[in-house]
């Protein structure tokens, strides 16, 4: 029996553990499948982490180490190389590792912090052959930064997600030539600063509204055919271009890894692919919380850490019996706002609502309303799917509301 079991020892899991510990629950166990704490940050050796949280530019491993050091100082227990196989609705965690074999732990509360994975090439149905030389950007990052091997010399990247942009620069610094980054959408899904620092600074062309329509090569990739796409994202005949290359990297989106949430019967959102949570990041199952990229994909690890602190504190309240779940109201969106986290909130405290929009919009008004009544509106010069937005609501403005409706109006 443990008070709190945290699944995942990445930035979310560690931050949640520290927050729980500092709020008075010390009987904590972190279960981590990798051989180190830190999660995906271990392979993110570029800088830019921690600007928001620490006011400094840290590398991924440096950022992770700030948390790992604290976990170690506080003496929070963790098990490495440990894979959780099942989480049950009544909070029994089944896991395995080489020392303990299969073991079960009953927990008073559980925090799900498993992170996300990259969408693979498979779902894209790209025609052509299946040679070696096709990787997700994160896999290439692992080869280069963790293993010390270069997976290729002449690269085409599909998708302008942040990992793809980071890898365009990383491969270039290793002496590879990145011939193009193709993006199906008319805008990039990555951060503006990454477009600037990873592509523009290295003269790597970003081809918006382009996709790979055919992969060539028998043993190893020897080229791709790319094409421009129309507004329905279909390739335009006559726009094809052949680019010789030996490697294709895919950076086509991240998917929260909720296999374990499903075993626990946690309700998931079809939009975020993560759990549906309240303001405390509690899922549909009382005492099971979710935070970080397993809940919804974040742009910055700083926000992951913040969100995990919320979950860690709330898990303590739950364990101590002080969490107040009364008077929850739903948060809904109009589609232009794709989703919010949380999706339901208590009327009893102030809340920060995070959201993403579904397209690039300029000069917009974000409105929060309850029926006909506008509770709050906020002007924005530009919003984009790649940048998460946040609005903090004081409880006074919604204490009589039946629901909160988030909408976007173009002005």
């Amino acid at each position: 029996m443990k008070d709190l079991v945290i699944i995942g020892g990445g930035p979310a899991g560690m931050s949640a553990a520290i927050a729980a510990y500092e709020n008075g629950v010390k009987d904590i166990l972190i279960l981590e499948r990798d051989e180190n704490l830190g999660g995906i940050l271990q392979q993110c050796i570029h800088n830019g982490f921690g600007l928001h949280k620490f006011g400094e530019e840290l590398t991924g491993p440096e950022y992770a180490w700030r948390y790992e050091k604290k976990v170690r100082e506080l003496g929070i227990e963790f098990k490495l190389n440990t894979m959780v196989l099942d989480v049950s609705e009544d909070k029994v965690v089944t896991a395995t590792n080489t020392q303990d074999g299969i073991f079960q732990i009953e927990a008073k509360a559980i925090i799900l912090a498993m992170g996300c994975r990259e969408r693979s090439k498979g779902a894209l149905n790209i025609a052509g052959s299946r040679p070696a030389g096709i990787y997700s950007a994160g896999t290439a990052q692992k080869f280069v930064n963790m293993k010390g091997y270069l997976p290729g010399k002449n690269i085409v990247i599909l998708g302008s997600g942040d990992i793809g942009l980071i890898m365009a620069r990383r491969m270039t610094l290793e002496g590879a030539k990145v011939h193009a980054v193709c993006e199906l959408m008319p805008y990039s899904g990555g951060l503006a600063r990454n477009i600037e620092q990873c592509l523009n600074d290295f003269d790597i062309p970003l081809k918006l509204s382009h996709t790979i329509i055919q992969i060539h090569g028998k043993d190893r990739v020897d080229g791709v055919t790319i094409a421009k796409v129309d507004e329905r994202r279909k390739p335009i005949a006559g726009s094809e271009e052949y680019i010789p290359c030996d490697t294709i990297l895919f950076s086509v989106g991240l998917v929260p890894e909720n296999e374990l949430s499903r075993t626990a019967n946690v309700s998931l959102s079809p939009i975020t692919n993560g759990a549906i949570v309240d303001q405390d990041r509690q899922t549909s199952i009382e005492g099971i919380f979710s935070c970080g990229n397993v809940l919804h994909v974040h742009d910055l690890v700083d926000y992951v850490s913040e969100e995990a602190e919320i979950a860690g504190k709330a898990a303590v309240e739950y364990i101590k019996g002080t969490k107040d779940d009364s008077v929850l109201i739903p948060v809904k969106t109009d589609g232009k706002i794709r989703y919010t986290v949380p999706q339901r909130i208590t009327k009893k405290k102030d809340v920060a609502v995070y959201f993403r929009v579904s397209n690039i919009y300029k000069n917009v008004m974000i409105k929060v309303s309850d029926g006909d009544k506008t509770l709050l509106s906020k002007k924005k010069i530009k919003v984009a799917p790649g940048e998460m937005e946040c609005i903090t609501l004081k409880k006074e403005i919604f204490e009589n509301a039946k629901e909160l409706y988030f909408s976007l109006e173009e002005m």
């Binding site: 196989l85 074999g101 990259e118 498979g122 779902a123 293993k147 010390g148 270069l150 997976p151 290729g152």
Partner: protein
């Protein structure tokens, strides 16, 4: 000198070698690729056909029905998962119904058991996800599913455990008459043998021509498939065929033994025997057909797509004959080739016997091959026992399919030994799940390099020049 040399380590070659390993024979299997099961065996519908398709009296009909009857026992001996899930050929119209009745009659003539037409109500109870436009179906309870490359690997592994040799990367370039048999050569080595069995798939015509047999040609017929996440495996429980037309058997929807959902194949005749490209046209055809047969197939849950080449013979039937003394063709083995494979092996065994090859029983022959240990399918107690004995079974490497380091090492150490990442994938399913090796690929590379005693950067995806990494990074150290 070998007694029998089998050219081609697909499911047919594998089962032929395995059935001959019952006897005191020196057997060699030659394979041009880096691993076994690399041709049509790794990319087909994975169906054990009931036997109503093939024309009455054909070799296809006979061996299909016989193979269907043998399959369960063969799979049991070889530790291969086989599920008799039954198949349904669905009809949308009265014209289709007439074709289904014909098929049923043909099946009855072919000795297929249990065939019947099911009407709409019963059909939709059997398969609630079928389209409402379907009015009836031919139900074949003896239809089944099996993983073809698992079967080939197991058959070859079992043959090797019983003494057969396997030579991969042996691309046959010539067959010459030699004393009491043949000399089979590649560019840099050769074997001598009394008998040659030609199981070379799309290249079986090339091999036959090497002994002067110009009686047939093989052309490749492209078949593209889409494989969906295991989440979707319950969309249908039977194998769903469309009513055949002049265009062929059409695009099927079937669960696999691993509970993925498989959609395909397309059917285009091509000339290039190396062209396994998927096409945009093919994807559209698969998606459109599937949407007609089944409600709500989540095509966005596709985890991979691939293309196989059927070996279509110029005679319309399987070509199993001995054009010259000591040389046997098993050519043109297109559908229902997988189903027929155990029966083809038996048929060839009889041919050898009739030809006077002394088949003296090998007293050490063991028909049983232990399946690869499956951590996921073991009970918690078993898992703990196994981990205690060998802690490597406690380390999960492939998180999507739940495959442990122990299972990967076991696969590398058993016959036939995998030497590339795809070989590990086909044996263990590591890299076969929804992330397609994104996470575990680098670890599997490490385990394989260590077990084979080779460098990390020499590891390939499937042999040849299919290298995973091209060089060290600036600061990298091997």
């Amino acid at each position: 000198m070998y007694d029998v040399t089998v050219i081609g380590a697909g499911v047919v070659g594998g089962l032929v070698a395995r059935s001959l390993s019952k006897y005191k024979l020196r057997i060699c299997i030659l394979e041009s690729e880096n691993d076994v099961a690399m041709g049509a065996t790794k990319a087909n519908s994975a169906i054990v056909h009931a036997g109503f398709d093939a024309k009455e009296g054909s070799l296809k009909a006979k061996l299909n029905v016989r193979g269907n009857k043998m399959m369960e026992a063969v799979c049991n001996e070889l530790g291969v998962k086989y599920i008799k899930n039954g198949s349904l050929v669905v009809g949308f119209s009265e014209e289709d119904r007439a074709v289904l009745n014909e098929l049923m009659q043909r099946g009855i003539t072919n000795n297929v058991e249990g065939l019947r037409i099911v009407e709409k109500d019963e059909l939709h109870e059997m398969e609630p996800n079928l389209s409402d436009d379907i009015i009836c179906a031919l139900y074949a309870p003896t239809g089944g599913i099996v993983c073809p490359y698992t079967l080939a690997i197991a058959a070859i592994g079992n043959a090797m455990d019983n003494g057969a040799h396997l030579k991969c990367n042996f691309k046959v370039t010539g067959i010459d008459a030699a004393e009491n048999g043949y000399k089979v050569s590649s560019e840099n080595e050769f074997v001598t043998t009394r008998y040659v069995i030609n199981c070379a798939g799309v290249y079986s015509d090339t091999i036959a021509k090497m002994v002067g047999d110009n009686s047939f040609d093989i052309h490749p017929r492209r078949g593209e498939y889409m494989l969906l996440d295991r989440e979707c495996g319950d969309t249908v429980s039977h194998t769903i065929f469309r009513t055949p037309s002049k265009m062929g058997k059409g695009i099927l929807v079937t669960p696999t033994v691993h509970n993925n959902l498989l959609l395909g194949p397309t059917s285009y005749d091509i000339t290039d025997k190396e062209n396994k490209d998927t096409t945009a046209v093919g994807f559209d055809a698969i998606i459109n057909s599937t949407n007609e047969t089944v409600k709500s197939v989540p095509v966005n849950k596709t985890i991979t797509s691939f293309c196989g080449l059927r070996s279509v013979g110029s005679t319309g039937d399987f070509i199993i004959n001995s054009p010259v003394k000591g040389f046997i063709n098993a050519a043109g083995i297109e559908s229902p080739g997988l189903t027929s494979s155990p029966a083809i092996a038996e048929y060839i065994e009889d041919m050898l016997k009739a030809d006077g090859l002394a088949l003296e029983v090998n007293p050490d022959y063991n028909p049983i091959r232990k399946p690869y240990y499956s951590f996921q399918e073991a009970s918690p107690e078993e898992k703990n026992e196994t981990i205690k004995e060998n802690p490597a079974y406690g380390k999960i490497v492939c998180r999507c399919e739940g495959i442990t380091e122990g299972e990967i090492i076991e696969a590398i150490r058993r016959n036939p030994q995998p030497r590339d990442l795809d070989g590990i994938k086909r044996r263990t399913r590591a890299q076969m799940g929804r992330c397609q090796g994104g996470f575990c690929g680098p670890y599997v590379t490490e385990i394989l390099a260590k077990e084979l005693g080779v460098s990390y950067e020499s590891i390939t995806k499937f042999g040849g020049e299919s290298l995973i990494n091209v060089e060290l990074t600036k600061g990298g150290q091997s």
